[in-house]
Subunit: 324 residues, 2 copies
């Protein structure tokens, strides 16, 4: 896993992935007590950064292997990314999703042409299901984060941030990344190491599902006690990956943790001040900028707004926070 | 009023206005029956394209004149654009707003440092109030649309569309523009004439406030019967401008008209499929692409999503359309 793989992924993504804007608002700056730059990956194809990793991985397969099709397991954003990338390459995809995933994500994954297989998050092991199906049908498994080409694809976000931060005159800053298994966080960390060494990636997680934060503090991989019960479904994973954790350990600053309620308030501020739609899991980095000011250094901070595939009732709940 | 003024405005706006992305979604394409490209000006500073015209006009003043300050009358988006542009030039601004303008727009205009003066839209003449105050205090009036430098600033949107459409391989298409007094529509029309002659601007208006559409059909300026009663407050104006109408007449295709309910449904689709926040007046062009398919030609259409400064209760009303 190295920077050359990220640069190669960026070349394959050229003309496919969208170069998302780096947004800002004086109102957000005021709330956060420093300049805040928001990398709006919710505007990426499929509504999240996951399209980058999905496309990078599918495009990296040799054509014969790819022709048999791909399989992925995901709560929804990786699912959509892989499904669209497979469709764009004209190959079949099977996506294994938890039965409690947001309905919108399940519907979209089907709409992108994937065969969707649901499983019970509490009682079944998605890895075992995925590997068995991959073997049965000759599908190539595209893991959601612990896979070099996926990390390389997500890392292209970091190449763009390095260039965009330079244009804004930001040379030293924390880069807060919504973190599940660490694919985006480790990919961005590698890209920043090469292209913007003054920028430092830091994972942000929901309270109770802070495996990366705890792992970084302990110096070894720690596992979450639970796997459900967060509004931030997009970034709930059992533990950091075997590939992603060593990268995070070498390059990242300490993790930050926010509550579901803070994530909802960040969703509402993104609506009000940035005019972008975020899901709670895609808003935890913005929440950390707004509500963990004392844990951040410097006069500027960059946050990833990683996804916007939110169900309507959750979004209405977020908007209600503006009334209190 | 010519293309050179638009190019000069683009140079002054460089490093200030945001180059907004051209978005798309296969789901929107499916609903519209053709490819739809959405120019997301809701992501512009102040949440609407009006910042372009405001900044272009304030930056065009000679420094001595500018130092005395500027004045504008607006239902809210032009207000915010001029207020922010004045603040960035370090000069005072007075903004005259209707008392029934969305609360968010009034609050933001104050927050950008402007002195806000409210008037009654039904009984008072905003032009008369504005001109009197301008005279009393030595302020320069920045009209919302019938002003060459404002048209030039809005026209920079068209320069970007011309370049972005070329990258997408779109050479011939209607460009649907949310239309109030015609500043954005005429500016874009002039830019397209120069840089993308296969693209044709067409105004889109709310039902009952379709002065531009009627004027284009009649060949002379027509006035709306009413001045209030639309959810699309951003684009309710008495009639096309004396400067903007001749440009529209020479360059634009026929106008399109949508209902408030269709505008709300477009706001909801922008939430669901594009992850951008629109106000109803900023969504009428998207509504026309979705609900006036038969009145549009070609296999692709470009729409301007012109603003996102929406009050919460209206937005909740829009999201409810997804449940029916």
């Amino acid at each position: 896993m190295n920077i050359e793989m990220i640069r190669a992924a960026a070349e394959r993504l050229e003309g496919h992935a969208r170069r998302t804007p780096l947004l800002s608002s004086p109102f957000i700056d005021h709330l956060a007590g420093r300049r805040v730059f928001i990398k709006a990956e919710c505007l990426q194809h499929t509504g999240s950064f996951k399209y980058r990793g999905g496309y990078a991985a599918v495009s990296a397969l040799d054509p014969d292997t790819r022709a048999s099709g791909v399989i992925a397991f995901s709560s929804g954003n990786h699912a959509q990314g892989v499904a669209l990338a497979a469709a764009q390459h004209g190959v079949p995809s099977v996506i294994i999703m938890p039965s409690d995933a947001p309905r919108l994500k399940i519907e979209n994954t089907s709409a992108f042409g994937a065969e969707v297989v649901l499983y019970d998050r509490a009682t079944e092991d998605r890895d075992a299901i995925g590997e068995a199906m991959a073997k049965d049908r000759g599908l190539t498994l595209i893991k959601p984060f612990d896979e070099p080409q996926v990390i390389a694809g997500q890392g292209t976000t970091g190449l763009e941030i390095a260039a965009q931060a330079r244009l804004e005159g930001v040379e030293t800053a924390d880069v807060l990344v919504c973190c599940g298994g660490g694919g985006l966080t480790s990919g961005i960390a590698l890209a920043l190491e090469a292209d913007a060494p003054g920028l430092r990636a830091r994972p942000v997680e929901p309270f109770g599902f802070d495996d990366a934060t705890k792992s970084l503090a302990a110096g070894s991989i720690q596992r979450n006690a639970r796997m459900s019960g967060s509004l931030c479904d997009a970034i709930v994973t059992p533990q950091p990956g075997d590939l992603t954790f060593p990268i995070m350990q070498r390059l990242c600053g300490s993790g930050l943790v926010v509550t579901d309620q803070e994530a909802l308030r960040a969703v509402a501020q993104a609506f009000l001040r940035l005019k972008i739609v975020l899901e709670p899991g895609g808003a935890v980095a913005l929440a950390a900028a707004l509500f963990r000011r004392d844990q951040i250094e410097g006069d500027a901070v960059i946050v990833i707004a990683s996804g916007g595939n939110v169900d309507l009732d959750i979004y209405e709940q977020a908007l209600k926070t503006l009334k209190s």
